[in-house]
Subunit: 154 residues, 2 copies
């Protein structure tokens, strides 16, 4: 994930410091090597465990009402300075923003997953695609599921 | 966005520094006050402009092929230390991860928007919900639109 392929374009970038994140938990999946990860999670993929760290565990209150949730996670092994990539090792290149590659200025992955179970600080989900040990950044209800339940705006 | 309502629960948190972000652009919308923002963007919402900053502009190569894109942005006015919230000003409280509120440990908003036009560093989109001037964190093709085009994994 750190090599450069033919026709890829790297740009000089400063150290990032426009905003800072908390890692709020950790994702446990069956995949320990990047080449084994699915390109994208599938609804019938294997069950994965999402562990929420303190002090954020109380923020799960009510999450069990949702069948679909959105997860944001930090793809820490990806380089951040490529603007054009060559994912197929071919002559076809794509801009980073036209790809869902982990290689991007801010390596945040997003997945919509099925929530199978909630047990204290542990969510069991299906539909992930990331490496075992990936740091969790956010959990939200899926838009479609959330909208009908959203309280009216005061 | 910085007040605490009845029954909300705040937790002591350290300064965040597990990962750091670049702001890669800026979003221009018609909404300059939080109370005017839609709770969630709509496909027939007003056209908004998304400005990409250098050196990231070349990363847009090929984005025009997608009708739907995902945007991630930084909701910088939101406090980050609430685990239980009271969005309806009522007796019903919700955990932060059971809400799509901007108030969350990592205040990253995500929207799926319709890409109307691309003109150099400017994307015109419909379906946003955020304040004018919001900082952009990422642009990705929508999952559904991307999958059929994704090059095979080497």
């Amino acid at each position: 994930m750190t090599d450069i392929r033919p026709h890829e374009i790297r740009v000089p970038v400063p150290n990032p410091d426009d905003a800072r994140l908390y890692f709020i938990g950790r994702i446990h999946t069956p995949w320990t090597d990047r080449k084994d990860c699915p390109r994208q999670g599938k609804p019938d993929g294997p069950e994965c465990r999402v562990e929420i760290f303190e002090p954020w565990v109380p923020a799960l209150k009510g999450i069990e009402d949702y069948e679909r949730i959105e997860l944001l996670y930090w793809l820490d092994r990806a380089r951040r300075d490529l603007v054009v990539q060559n994912p197929g090792h071919s002559d076809s290149t794509f801009g980073t923003f036209a790809l869902r590659s982990p290689v991007r200025p801010n390596p945040i992955g997003t997945s919509l997953v099925t929530l199978v179970a909630v047990d204290g600080p542990i969510l069991t989900v299906r539909g992930l695609d990331c490496l075992d040990g990936t740091a969790l950044v956010d959990v939200k209800p899926d838009r479609c599921a959330f909208t009908p339940k959203a309280p009216p705006k005061p």
